[in-house]
Structures are given as C-alpha cells and as structure tokens.
Amino acid sequence: MADVHDGATSGEAAETAVEKHSSASPGVAVERADRIANPGFPPERLRVTDTDPAKEKAAERTVSGLFLMSVVGSILAVVAYVAFPIVEGQPETIRLNNLFLGLGITLGLLGIGIGAVHWSKALMHGHELVEQRHPTRGSDETRAKAVEVFQAGNKESGFTRRSLVRNTLIGALVATPIPAIAIFRDLAPAEDPVALLKHTMWDEGVRLTRDPSGTPIKASEVTIGSAFHVIPEGLTELESHKLEEKAKAAVLLMRLPLDRLNEREDRKDWSYDGIVAYSKICTHVGCPVALYEQQTHHLLCPCHQSEFDVANHAEVIFGPAARPLPQLPITVDEEGYLVAKSDFTEPVGPSFWERAL
C-alpha cells in the first residue's frame, strides 16, 4: 500500500529511503561502505491552488470550460459533416470536408485532453506517494510449492518414468505441423517459377511498341537523343498476366551517334543504325530504370541510384547493381518497324539463385 510522504515530518517516510541489501550477487559492481547516504524526501512545495481558494475556483472553471469546449467541438464536427458535402468534380470540397470535420473532432478531443491533464495537475491531491517494491522472484516457500506441483504432475503422469510415452508424444507433436507447411504449396500454381523467369514475351519478329499506347515504332522515328518506353506488340491485348508480362518485357529504346556506341563484336547486329534496346528492369532489385541522361547516355535507376552506361553495353558505372542491363537484339521488318530478333538471351531483372544455370 502506498504511504503519503511529506518531507517535513518524515520520520516514517525517510525510513523508506534506507536501502535493503539484496542477497543477489553484485557481479563486478563496487559496493562501498562510505557511500553518501540517501538524504530522504525533501520538504514538499505547495501549489497556488493548494493555498489560494480563489485560484482553486479559477482552475475548476478552466477545467469545466475545456470540457464544454470539447462538447462544442464534437457538435461542430457533425455540423461540418453535413455542411461540407463532397461535390463531384469539385476537388476543393474534399479539402473543406477534411479540414472542418477534422478541426471539429480535434476540438472535441483536445478539450478533454487538456482539461483532464489540467485537472490532475492543478486540482487533484498533489502529494507524491511511496510504495515499496518487492523482489520479483516468488518467496522460497512459493517456489517450493511450485516445485511440488511439478513433481506431483510428473509422478502422477509418469512423464519422465514412461520415457517411451514421452518420446513418442514429442515425435507426434513435431510431426503435426508438417501438413500445415505442406498445404501452403498451392499458394502458387504448379509451374516452376525458374522457367517462367527465364522467358519474356519477346520473340523473333515481335514489334517494339510504345508504352502504353501499343503503337509500333519506325526506326526513322527514333531520333538521336530520344528515348522510347517500349512494350512488346500484343501486350495491351492480353487477357491475363498483363502486369506480370510487362514487369519482364519493358524495354528502353535509344539512338546513339554511331561513333559513341561501343559494341561487343558478337553483338554488333543486335542494334540497328545506332538504335539499341535494353531491358528497363533494374538488375539490382527490379525497379524500372526510367531516367535517361541523353548527353552522357547514362541510365539512372531512381530506386537506389544505380547508373548504367548505354554507350558501353549498359555496364554498371555506379550504385549497387551488379550486372549490366540485358540487351534485346533488334532489327527492322520490311515495313521499317522495329522488331525483336529473339527473346532476351538472359533472364531480366533481379538476380536469383538459378539465374545463371
């Protein structure tokens, strides 16, 4: 039970300031005999509301004033709900509804909050109280009783004695959750994800089309310095898996001056007249690499700032990505539209365990 302490006459209270020494090991703590002693509680200071009845009355009025303000706020909130309807086509009505409904509720809440805190600080009994702590551990007697309970349980069931029963029970308990793990296999369809990850919609002759309209792109439209966001022809008409396919097949198309373009010998025919197509899916963790700096021919991934150099096989020149962006081999068809020569020759996007297999 808590005792009131008032410092001035603190015969009893001061006693609470005497440390009882526990029997637990202090470890490497230093225990000195000539520690300075706890001086006990200081004399308590009174508040103005304790000494001046007029101030007390005033505080009382403030508190109930605040509670009344809260009532007014709650009413205002309902008024605002009705008075500020949302009108279609007028976005500012949403703002007004949000603002005044919110302010009404705020007033309703803050009135109670400030009022209650002020009440407790200015008017409620202000003395500090003292309560004794007790060791957290149960008393020796209680602990002995607990041990007895366990022993009785063990004896009456034979838990340790009948070891066959116990061990088979443990085995059974270990086995029961296994079906619970197994039944989660159908979280996804039966296919092997690794095979899916290694193919995209691109294939020989598939036209490069604009994202999102799906209109095909003529090589002549790709001027130097421009960049096109590209999706494969037919993506917009897909009945299902539109986003899944797009997440693998999105491509960036750029034209570089021929003298700036560094190409690998075996990939010379993957570009068309300085036009190159690279996967737009970052090889780091898969964000779209959407920012093209046409002076430097650098592609920047906005997620973690990996930078790829399009003039040099989209090599990583900065940031956490490890691999260049995969290149899509392209050419033009007889009508002059850009088409893929094949699918990507490696999986696009983030790395995974079986990627290089």
Binding site: A2, T16, V18, E19, S25, P26, G27, A29, R32, I36, F41, I86, G89, P91, I94, N97, N98, L99, G102, L103, T106, L109, I112, G113, A116, V117, H118, W119, K121, L129, V130, R133, F184, L187, P189, P193, L196, P212, I231, H241, L243, E244, A247, A250, H284, V285, G286, C287, P288, A290, P302, H304, Q305, S306, P320, A321, A322, P350, W353, E354
Partner: protein, 520 residues
C-alpha cells in the same frame, strides 16, 4: 450514488473485481517526461485501431482490374486494381474517408517513431536490466511488428509507390540463396506482381499482425505492472521503493487526458496536412516510376542499406548466383537488429550483476553503454540518410556519387567516432558532476577578498540536490582468477576482456569521506 454502489456490488459478486481495484488502483507511477514515450506509442496504436477499423468498412483488397469511373477527373477511364479504386473512393467519395486515411497514416508514423524513441530511452537509462530483460525483448518484437504492419499497410492501396515497394521486396527475396525464386513465387502466388499479394497482405495487416501485436502489448503491460516502473534517482527514491502518483486518480486522469491529447494532435495534423496522396501517383504499373519518392520513414534504414553497397557485388559459384549486393545489407540489418535484441543479456553477462535494478541511470553514468548506443544511432542515421541520397544530392547540388561516398563513410567510420566522442563526453560530464558535488557550482558572483584578489563564490549544493549527482552504480573490470581446478577458461578471458572494455575508464561517485574532508 445508490446506483454506483449497487453496480459495483453486482459486478464484484460476479468477477471479484474488487481485488483488482485494490491491488492496482493505488499503484504508484513515477513521473518523468521520457516515460511518456511509451504512452504515446500505446495511444497512437489505439488511434490506429479505430481509424483502421473505419477503413476496413470501405476498403476492398481485390487486385481485379477495373476502369476508374470515380469523381477524380484525371484518372477517369484508366485501368487499375479494385484495391486502388477503393482507396480513391475512400479519399474522394466518402465524407471523412480522407480524414480517416490520413489519421491512420499519421498515427502509424507516430506509432513507430514513439516506439523507437521509447526504446532509446530504455536503452540509455539501462531500464532493460534485471528484472526487465524479457520486457525489452517483447518491446523489440513490438518494434519489428510495427514496421511490418506499416509496410503491409503502405502496400495495400496498390498505387505506383506501394507497388514499387513490393517490387523491391520481391527483388530482395529473389536474392535469397537456394529458395529465393520459390519464396517469391509462393508469396505473390504467381510471377511478380500477380493478383494475390494485396489480399494476402490485407489478412496480415488487419488480422494476423495486429492480433500478435495486441497480445504482445498485453504481455508488455503485465510485465510492466509486475516489475513496476523504474524511476530516476532522487532524494528519498531508492531501489526498494516507487515514488510518484497513484493510478487512481492522478495517473489515470493524466494518462487518460494524454490519450485524448495524442488523439487530438493526430487528427489536427491529419486535417491540415496531406499524407500519401495516392491519386497523384497513379495505379501500379511495373514500367513508370517517379524520381525522388520516399518510403515511410521507418523503412528508410533498410532502403538506405541497399543504396550504400558498392557496384558489382555478385558472384556465380558452380552456376549458382550469390547476390552479395542484397545479401550483405540484408544480413547486416538482421545482425544489427539482433544485436539490439540481445544487448541486455550481453551487458548482464559482462557485469555479472544479478541484483534487481529499479533506478533508471543517467546516460552519462554508464559511458560505455551510452557510447555503444550512440554508435548504433549513428549507424542507423547513416543508413536512414542514405534512403534520401538522391534528395540530398539534388537539394544541395552535390553529385550523387559524392553523397553516397560520404554516407558510406558515416555508416562505416561514423559509429567509431560517435563511440569515442560520446564516451569522452560522458566521462567529462561525470568529472564535472563530481566537481560540483564536492565544491558546489559557480554562482557567477565575484567578490573581492580583503587581500585584494577576486574570487568567484561557489554555491554549495544541499543534500537533496547532491544526491542526484552521487547516487550511481559503479563497476570495475573483472579480475581473471583461476577456477577450482587452477585453470583460466577462455570464457572467463573473454568476459574479463569485455568488462575491461566496459569499465576501464570510470569515475567513482563522491564518498562520504571525501565530502567530509572537503567540508573542513
């Protein structure tokens, strides 16, 4: 009055509630501003529950594609998921819907922030020491769960930013050795993004995770009551008592009032400031992305960790891919979090102190712990700042490379600098405390002595003021001693080494003898 008496009796005869009132009603709670951080966390969680429940009445987590036909003109006719559509409807068609979304989101930000600050308070005051180690672990789990709840919630509206966040999670999962591709496939129910992830996250967000969170908060509170609150040292306060206000009525009124204050402030912010304007981002689409976007603050440290890794870190061994650029930050963060979770046990082992501790320490009085904490905070801050590396670069017109290199330095070297500086500052402060406890403080009053010289008068402290400065725990390094068989075990050597690291530099509290000799 007759009625309350009758009702109290009715309930007690059926529940024995009077016992609970008797034991809990006058429990004492000590007062300090920093003890309110945990309360802020608790109250903002209640606000989250209330606003979140409102949102569930209108939100539809389906990922079926529909065409937008709501009242927000710029998006009309655009294909999007039902989840995104319903989030727009909550914002634009339902009175108070936008307010509740904003209340929910602001409260979530405040919730995680107050948990983090609360943890720092507990850490730096040593309030995790025996008997409160287990409650520290529960609190740690609450912090992790809160981040998970925040992330799952952030993903629900299925706007461009939340989808991009999931894309990053997908990429990180895929990097997991052996099973990565499979885990991602099962989680998303298909190739990314699939049509299952939002409904699945929804179940986690509104049922499973909150249920665990509520259970853990319950356990946290029960242990708080069993262990009673710590208090700072002060005259009359000892390790064996609690000094403060009783639950009934002062603490109840203050805490209850404080709940309404927290709630009110959250609603005020939500009515004045927009958060997560999903209508500006558009529906999720794997192709576009806008530069300069930010995750919610508590995800920043993880995002930053990904950014700080230097290029090209990936190896293929026997055809299998090891994505170090993802695994290093992932494992690094797990180790960092695990270190925070087990710190109390490490310190307890080093000190070997088996006593109960109920006095919250002043951070300076445990210089090594405080320095370790400062190092951890610096590490976290470096990662966190890295999540805004692009914004820092554009805002201060720096190169992104320069910013990243600077932040790599901050996260790798910064913690060591923070450690040494903090430790020195703590020791200096302790020396100063000692000085003041013995000689008083400089009063600023200059007097001229009869001999002509000037001195500054030192004002002595009274016993009550001095107590705060001298009543701290002191530890010394462990002496290695041979055990019963005359051997010194490796375990003991490690422990001795650690305890030397912890307690080599120490400043003893002023003793009674010193004080008396000073007085003469």
């Amino acid at each position: 009055m007759r009625f309350t008496g009758w009702a109290a009796n009715y309930i007690d005869e059926r529940t024995s509630a009077s016992t609970a009132v008797k034991t809990l009603g006058r429990k004492i709670f000590p007062d300090h501003w920093s003890f309110m951080l945990g309360e802020v966390a608790l109250y903002s969680f209640v606000v989250i529950l209330l606003s979140g429940t409102f949102l569930t009445f209108f939100f539809d987590p389906s990922m079926t594609e529909v065409e937008y036909e709501g009242s927000y003109v710029p998006l009309q006719g655009i294909p999007m998921s039902v989840a995104y559509h319903s989030s727009l409807d909550i914002s634009f068609e339902i009175r108070g819907g936008l307010l509740m979304r904003q209340v929910h989101h602001w409260a979530a930000l405040l919730f995680v922030a107050s948990i983090a600050l609360h943890m720092l308070r507990v850490f730096f005051t040593g309030a995790f020491r025996k008997p409160r180690e287990l409650n520290w672990v529960i609190g740690f789990l609450l912090f992790v769960l809160a981040m998970a709840l925040g992330f799952t919630g952030y993903s629900l509206p299925d706007d461009l930013l939340s989808g991009n966040g999931l894309r990053i999670i997908d990429g990180m999962i895929k990097a997991v050795p052996v099973a990565g591709a499979w885990i991602s496939y099962l989680l998303f129910g298909d190739e990314f993004p699939g049509t299952d992830i939002i409904p699945r996250l929804y179940v986690l967000h509104i049922l499973l995770l909150p249920a665990i969170l509520v259970a853990l908060i319950g356990a946290h509170m029960v242990l708080l009551i069993v262990n009673k609150h710590t208090q700072f040292a002060g005259p009359g306060r000892t390790n064996d008592n609690v000094v403060g206000a009783p639950v009934m009525p002062v603490f109840a009124a203050k805490a209850g009032g404080f709940f309404f204050l927290v709630f009110g402030v959250i609603v005020l912010i939500a009515s004045l400031f927009t958060i997560n304007p999903i209508w500006n981002y558009g529906p999720y689409d794997p192709s576009p992305v806008s530069a300069g976007t930010q995750p919610d603050w508590y995800i920043g440290f993880a995002d930053g960790a990904l950014r700080l890794i230097p290029p090209h870190l990936e190896t293929v061994i026997f055809g299998y891919t090891w994505s170090w650029n993802v695994l290093i930050p992932l494992v690094g963060l797990l180790v960092f979090l695990a270190a925070a979770a087990v710190y109390p046990f490490l310190e307890a082992w080093v000190t070997g102190d088996k006593r109960e501790h109920h006095i919250a320490e002043r951070p300076r009085n445990n210089p090594t712990r405080t320095a370790i904490g400062a190092a951890g905070v610096t590490f976290y801050a470096g990662l966190w700042a890295a999540a805004s590396s692009d914004l820092i670069a554009t805002h201060f017109r720096l190169s992104i490379e320069g910013v990243i290199h600077a932040l790599q330095f901050v996260t790798v070297v910064g913690p060591f600098i923070a450690y040494f500086v903090t430790k020195r500052v703590c020791l200096a402060l302790m020396r100063k405390d000692r000085e003041i406890a013995l000689h008083g403080y400089e009063s600023g009053r200059i007097v001229r002595l009869p001999g002509g010289e000037y001195i500054e008068v030192h004002e002595q402290l009274d016993d009550y003021e001095r107590w705060r400065l001298v009543s701290y725990e002191e530890y010394q390094p462990l002496m290695v001693r041979p055990d019963a068989r005359g051997r010194i075990t490796a375990r003991q050597r490690v422990r001795a080494g650690l305890s030397r690291w912890f307690f080599e530099d120490r400043i003893s509290p002023v003793t009674q003898k010193e004080l008396e000799s000073q007085r003469h």
